[in-house]
């Protein structure tokens, strides 16, 4: 180190290490420590359980105690044997891994419960290809008594879910995407952009039931106004489109906020490079900015679809509930998977024989998850095709 010790104001030299291999721990340290933590946690859990009467959840207590012991133990060990920075780095690394494991817990639990209960129903013959017309309580009771296959299916609900969600996506994604483009590329902090940002924020918190009530009221108002002006015949407002509008209210803010963030971090130098080639702004946006941000946008869009495809409350008041398929968005009622699931859970077809309904509900939930999974996969593949070819430099 060069700086000779000077008067007191001299900044301390900025480093402590002199040797490269100073204070490394053997590679197996973490494994040993983990094993130790598991053992100590077991003992502690037993002791605690005895002392505080927590016998009924020894296992969970044990599981919780393992990181509680492991993390600080590693921290202290590294702090003492290596140095503080390394210790803190390791501590956060462990925390990050722990966060991941914690996130897996509910995932595994939910997926397991859905798959294990839902799979038999999904495999029941004709479950995907048939609807619920003709399925009555008496049939379910008979099924229970004779032990035959559960009848009835979710074709109509799959169709309804897909059609309504697609319509909502077609409404929301262009509006959301264009709005975020306006916010990031055009507005330059104008009052309008501030107003939009402000209200999009508010939209994120609209309860879905309110969105449904609003969409019903708005469509009813629109139809009655239009029919009193003679523009169209009076007709019921309960239809797929009304549900799609309700879902759009929920979807738009998610699309706007996610894509806005993704567009904002596109480096300005890419925009400039494009402008300098004499490329118009809108082409720059479409061909340079959006492709650069596409993977983020795609995950934002899938997120928003996942957000609304599972909605129950607003659908019932806007699209009604039927037992057979309807492809028509603007006429007639539609059923969707979440409503189907909810009704099967809450009001089993046969109150005295609920198993068939429960089986159908869980199987439908499984199907819904699979649908969103596939959508997600598709979005990722699309994003992959356009995404920046990453090489670090």
């Amino acid at each position: 180190m060069s700086t000779p010790t000077q008067e007191t104001t001299t900044p301390p030299p900025p480093k402590a290490q002199n040797s490269l291999t100073q204070g490394t721990l053997p590679r197996w340290t973490w494994a040993a420590m983990l094993a130790g933590s598991v053992a100590v946690a077991a003992a502690l859990a037993a002791a605690l359980g005895a002392a505080f009467g927590a016998e009924s959840f020894l296992m969970p207590l044990w599981v919780v105690l393992v990181p509680v012991i492991y993390l600080p133990a590693m921290l202290i060990l590294q702090w003492v044997r290596i140095n503080k920075r390394k210790a803190i780095d390791g501590f956060w690394k462990n925390l990050v891994y722990l966060a991941f494991l914690i996130a897996l817990l509910p995932l595994v639990s939910v997926i397991w419960s859905v798959v294990s209960v839902g799979l038999p129903g999904l495999l029941a013959p004709g479950f995907l290809a048939s609807d619920m017309s003709g399925i009555t309580g008496r049939i379910d009771q008979e099924t229970m008594e004779t032990g035959g296959d559960v009848l009835g299916g979710i074709r109509h609900a799959i169709i309804g879910s897909l059609v309504i969600t697609l319509a909502a996506t077609v409404i929301s994604v262009p509006i959301g995407l264009l709005t975020s483009i306006y916010l990031v590329e055009y507005s330059r902090g104008s009052w309008l952009s501030r107003a939009i940002t402000f209200f999009v924020d508010v939209m994120t918190g609209i309860p879905s039931i309110v969105a449904g009530l609003f969409a019903a009221a708005a469509t009813a108002w629109f139809i009655s106004t239009a029919s009193s002006l003679g523009l169209m015949a009076a007709r019921p407002y309960t239809m797929g489109l009304t549900a799609a509008i309700a879902l759009s209210v929920l979807m738009i803010p998610v699309v706007v906020r996610t894509t806005e963030e993704m567009l904002r971090v596109v480096p300005n130098e890419l925009r400039e490079a494009s402008y300098a080639l004499g490329v118009r702004k809108w082409r720059t946006i479409l061909k340079v900015v959006i492709p650069t941000a596409i993977s983020g946008i795609a995950s934002g869009v899938t997120l928003s679809i996942a957000r609304v495809i599972g909605e129950t409350a607003p659908i019932l008041v806007t699209a009604g509930f039927v037992v057979n398929a309807n492809w028509n968005l603007v006429s007639g009622w539609m059923a969707t998977l979440p409503v189907y699931i909810y009704r099967q859970f809450q009001n089993p077809i046969a109150p005295a024989a609920t198993e068939p309904s429960e089986q159908r509900a869980w199987a439908a939930a499984l199907v819904l998850i699979i649908i969103v999974m596939l959508l997600n996969l598709a979005a990722r593949i699309i994003a992959q095709v356009f995404a920046p070819k990453k090489t670090g430099r």
């Binding site: 013959p125 479950f127 017309s133 003709g134 009555t136 309580g137 008496r138 049939i139 037992v323 398929a325």
Partner: protein, 350 residues
């Protein structure tokens, strides 16, 4: 429609069956109370079997939602646990012509006071006051003297009582609290309402299936629920005029038949003022009468015919029987059925 549907009707209620069984065709959209959803499913499906070209949809949006949709013309009829008030009746004249709408108590079901106490396999007896005290949180243990003295010879555990009530506003709650208020007014001072009194701290769950499953999962729990849906739970025999009466379909149906009608609405209106503090032996006073609300007058002949046919079907012996088999409710008594048929026959086109 598909591979495993038992009937041919399903989605293809189109031409191929036309004329063969019935000339009725069209779609009725309706909505309302969830209490009668099971019965409605039965009715709409069976009706579609008889009339392949006709379809009835029922959305269980709740009684209030049903009446709102009905009054706005969105629903051709509504299902409702509570009768329309006079304002709503007035409003119904806008969509239903000068006579407005009328109620038919097509779905009658006893409300059971159901419980789950480990070690008690027999039916417990409770009078109205005891029930009220339990639900008000004043009696907190199953071996309380008030319960013990009405149940000689039953070995009651000291399990604490967990009251489970509906978390959503519901007709069941309204009927139950009406009963408590009428039959045990000095204990139960709260006004009858669809929502549970907020100052009683108790467990709650959504919908009948929710309270039933919560009660089933909780030792010492007690709840009130549509009797047809209590599954394996035990139910209380309710004290009426010194005797203890278990719930039964006949008792429930009779309670409705003997109750006075609501005055001041359409002439063929069948809304009832249930008599909760009856002392009549053998009557079971905790009854839910869920109405179907129809217009006296529909816009055109086809609609009127279709609605009339459906209404006739649901009150018919066959329809009531079908619902009862599926939903476990109490079929209408013969008198009530006759009255209902008469009321329904007045549906006309304007």
């Amino acid at each position: 429609g598909g591979a495993n549907n038992p009937d041919t009707g399903s989605e293809a209620n189109g031409a191929e069956n036309g004329g063969e069984v019935s000339e009725l065709s069209g779609t009725i959209n309706a909505g309302g109370a969830s209490s009668q959803e099971t019965a409605m499913t039965e009715w709409t499906q069976s009706f579609a079997e008889i009339h392949p070209n006709a379809q009835v949809n029922y959305a269980a949006v709740g009684s209030g939602g049903g009446r709102e949709g009905f009054l706005s013309g969105e629903y051709l009829f509504a299902g409702s646990d509570a009768a329309m008030d006079d304002d709503e009746y007035e409003a119904s004249k806008e969509v239903c012509g000068p006579d407005g709408a009328f109620h038919v108590p097509a779905y009658i079901s006893p409300i059971a006071v159901a419980y789950n106490v480990e070690g008690v396999d027999t039916q417990l007896n409770m009078d109205a006051e005891t029930i009220a005290r339990v639900f008000a949180g004043e009696i907190t243990s199953w071996d309380a003297p008030e319960i013990a003295e009405q149940n000689d010879g039953v070995d009651l555990p000291s399990t604490p009582i967990t009251v489970v009530h509906r978390s959503d506003d519901s007709g069941t709650t309204e009927n139950f609290t009406e009963y408590l208020h009428a039959a045990a007014g000095d204990v139960w001072e709260w006004e009858p309402d669809g929502g549970w009194p907020s100052d009683i701290t108790a467990e709650s769950a959504q919908q009948t299936s929710g309270v039933v499953s919560t009660t089933s999962d909780t030792d010492g729990a007690i709840t009130y629920a549509d009797a047809s849906q209590i599954g394996g739970l035990q139910s209380v025999a309710v004290g009426v005029g010194g005797e203890y009466v278990p719930y039964s379909a006949d008792a429930a149906s009779n309670a409705v038949a003997s109750s006075p009608r609501v005055e001041g609405q359409a002439p063929n209106n069948m809304a009832v003022e249930l008599d909760r503090d009856t002392e009549e032996a053998g009557a079971y006073p905790i009854v839910l009468a869920a109405y179907s609300i129809f217009c006296n007058q529909y816009e055109d002949e086809a609609t009127a015919d279709l609605v009339r046919a459906f209404a006739e079907y649901i009150v018919s012996e066959e329809g009531q029987q079908a619902a009862s088999e599926a939903a476990g409710n109490a079929p209408l008594s013969a008198d009530l059925r006759a009255e209902a048929e008469d009321a329904i026959s007045q549906i006309s086109a304007g």
